[in-house]
Amino acid sequence: MATTPRTSTERPSAAGAGIADRELAMRPDPWRVARVAAETADTFTLWLEPAGSGVEFAFRPGQFNMLWAFGAGEVPISISGAPGRVQQLVHTIRAVGHLTRGLQKLRRGDLLGVRGPFGTAWPVDGAEGHDLVIVAGGIGLAPLRPLLYHALANRSRYGRVALFYGARTPDDLLYARELEAWRGRFDLEVEVTVDRAAGSWHGNVGVVTTLLRRVPFDADETSAFVCGPEVMMRFAGNELLRLGVPPGRLWVSMERNMQCGIGLCGHCQLGEWFVCRDGPVFSWDRAAPTFAVREL
């Protein structure tokens, strides 16, 4: 484990990293849990601070870190805080297996290992001047939140910004307070829906794709960003294409069994790509052909 704090900018960013860089990329840094908060019954957010002093971490919206729960192993988790050069990392995690349940047990002051940031980012610069359509399903809102933070922090660079968010039930909505605050803004449109609800819920019911026709946007001048379960991304992407969004400006974030983070181990191979290195953010053009291939 690294003993000398360093900045994340020393990290190899993608393919072509030399051996020294690869070694660096495989070495976790110690970070300390500053805060833990439950988002839903099975989802929680960790705020992390570097265990050493003077560490500044730089990342772009859509990238992920490998979080190491000591004694259990590593798991890839998208960064869900505001992007840029930060001294605090935010990760929202769904506890679904051995490793993530291990992370769920961490408390303030506990240490964990962090490697990253890894992977490609949402192309925020290329989307300047466009309407932004952000479609999130379930925990998929977490990797999209840095994109939304970026858009709101640079609001004048974008046209209309709309967030469409679908969850399983009202109790499964992430960032509930923040969603309320976003809904109150005049420069952001937020539509939320759930798949199942009792009569006490007075919001939308139905899958997130049904919302897309409700907010008018200029499809020709739109960049769309989708993250959620793969089936949801498939249907949301097709609906956005039907509405006229060009496939080259439609982006999805893929998930596979990422382990090394730098395209060496091959566990996250998706056709001709490694998701950890060539993704997780892919253009629709690249990702869509893989959706229907069972062997991938």
């Binding site: 490793l99 993530t100 829906t193 199942r196 009792a198 819920w201 007075h202 089936v231």
Partner: protein, 157 residues
């Protein structure tokens, strides 16, 4: 007298429809308004109309004695509520609940069925449009049934 034809022409479902067909549909339409909490339709009652929401939100609901009210789907501006007017036994399967104050076009189903029986070109056109809508709704319901955000939703660990 001002007719509802311009409003009908502005509905996405009827986009590109022949003027004479729009006029026929408008002849079966009335403007309605519901307060939040009102039930414009109740499960089991005759399905003698459908609604096109101009502004507001309506839910399809069903009441189960052991679970209370279950919301199946909600519809918003520009969306169509109700298919049962189209197929026998012309009976509503779900409660139609105005969740907010809602303005809508109410289309008289019996009136329109009569016109479809007389004008087969209109019938073919309208049934095609409703079929497309039905397929979209089925697709959405299939996704709901898949429970895509359930415990199987991630494979990261």
């Amino acid at each position: 007298m001002q007719t509802l034809e311009p409003l009908i022409a502005g509905v996405a479902l009827f986009k590109g429809m022949k003027q004479e067909h729009l006029a026929l549909i408008a002849g079966c339409a009335t403007n309605v308004r519901y307060e939040a909490g009102q039930f414009p339709g109740l499960a089991g009652s005759p399905a003698d109309c459908f609604w096109i929401i101009r502004q507001g939100c309506m839910a399809l609901e069903i009441h189960a004695p052991d679970r209370g009210t279950i919301s199946i789907a909600t519809m918003g501006d520009g969306e169509v509520v109700g298919f049962s007017w189209l197929v026998p036994p012309y009976q509503l399967r779900f409660d139609v609940h105005a969740l907010t104050a809602t303005r809508a076009l109410l289309i008289d189903g019996r009136c329109l069925r009569g016109k479809l029986a007389q004008d087969h070109e209109l019938a073919a056109d309208l049934l095609g449009r409703f079929s497309t809508l039905a397929v979209q709704r089925l697709e959405a319901l299939s996704l709901q049934l898949m429970d895509i955000y359930g415990d199987h939703a991630t494979n990261i660990d």
